[in-house]
């Protein structure tokens, strides 16, 4: 076997800034990156139960587009079943939850998300109920405080003749029933 054309670098003479040092740095970064990729690719596959849990978790955030307010996870419709199958495939390909949701949003729009995203006009849905509650509570507090501060009116004096008449009639009634 002939001599290899590859030139062994003289490691004791490698210095930063030299071409060989830069080559070495690039090689180290490359090897580390490759190792990371290999580890990601060789991540243990999800168990069948874990995979189904993941599909259900992602499907429960997506709207079944042919149903009335049912999630992809809960709907018995054929299209929802096919969507679950697609989610399963994408999970098996290593796609993240966000990537899968983004895919469905790119096809169906934000309508496909059961919970409207918290930005833009949709923010009203999230903020308005709490705002209305706070304004209502503030109103109730102000009215209650005003009522509590109102002076209690004294009772009007009773006509003594009227009081006498009531007492007399009460006596007569008691005598009548005794």
């Amino acid at each position: 076997m002939g001599r290899s054309a590859y030139r062994q670098p003289k490691w004791d003479r490698v210095r930063w800034g030299s071409g060989e040092a830069r080559l070495l740095a690039v090689a180290v970064v490359f090897v580390l990156a490759a190792a990371g990729l290999v580890r990601a690719a060789s991540a243990p596959p999800l168990s069948p139960q874990a995979l189904e849990d993941r599909v259900r978790e992602i499907g429960s955030d997506l709207r079944c587009v042919v149903c009335q307010n049912l999630s992809v996870a809960d709907s018995p419709s054929d299209l929802a079943k096919e969507m679950r199958n697609l989610i399963r495939e994408l999970v098996e390909q290593g796609k993240s939850r966000q990537e899968i949701e983004d895919y469905f949003v790119s096809r169906y729009g934000e309508f496909v998300l059961l919970a409207p995203p918290k930005h833009g006009f949709n923010l009203l849905v999230w903020v308005l109920p709490f705002l209305a509650l706070a304004i209502g509570a503030g109103g109730v507090y102000l009215v209650a405080r005003r009522w509590a501060a109102r002076p209690v009116e004294g009772s009007a004096p009773v006509d003594p003749a009227y009081l006498d008449r009531v007492r007399r009639e009460l006596h007569e009634r008691e005598d009548g029933t005794a």
Binding site: L79, E82, L86
Partner: protein
């Protein structure tokens, strides 16, 4: 009227505006995010034909019609128009592809026989093409321009005037 009394009608104003917006919006009309974007590519095994890919049709206007034999009456209403349009425009470079959704092959073939379909149609196993096109019902029709972009999406049965206007726009573009 004091400013306190004016508060009550003022407070109802945002609610009225919100309701006005809600009632003026058709909840069934959901704009497709795919319109004016590149149509997703697909490969379809056409009944009694070779495999067809949308990418291979680039440069020609294409109509992609999603239908099913169980879709009654809308698919039955538009079927004669689909076939008539195909026969009228196929020599002008227009292409039409039917994607059959969640259907049994004999039923789909019976539908095609009934309406004398002569343009390519094929099944969509796993509804992958349908999901990729954001389809949520049948019939739905996509008008794809020569550059491969979705120019218009129609939900429901097509009518002649609309079909004609869309095809003219596609042929001009």
């Amino acid at each position: 009227m004091s400013w306190k009394k004016a508060l009550i009608p003022l407070a109802t104003l945002p609610v009225i505006l919100l309701l006005a917006y809600g009632f003026r919006t058709d909840p069934k009309s959901i704009p497709s995010p795919l319109v004016r974007k590149e149509a997703p590519n697909f490969r379809i095994a056409v009944y009694d034909g070779a495999e067809l890919s949308l990418a291979s049709l680039r440069g020609k206007p294409v109509i992609v019609n999603f239908w099913a034999s169980w879709c009654f009456p809308a698919c039955y209403e538009e079927a004669p128009l689909m076939e008539a349009t195909w026969r009228k425009y196929k020599d002008q470079g227009l292409l039409m592809v039917g994607v059959v959704i969640q259907d049994k092959e004999p039923n789909a073939r019976e539908f095609m026989r009934r309406f004398d379909y002569s343009f390519p149609n094929g099944p969509d196993p796993g509804s992958k093409i349908s999901i990729d096109f954001g389809v949520y019902g049948v019939p739905e029709t996509f008008f794809i321009d020569r550059k491969g972009r979705i120019a218009y999406k129609h939900v429901g049965a097509l009518v002649p005037e609309l079909m004609e206007a869309q095809i003219q726009a596609l042929l001009k573009g």
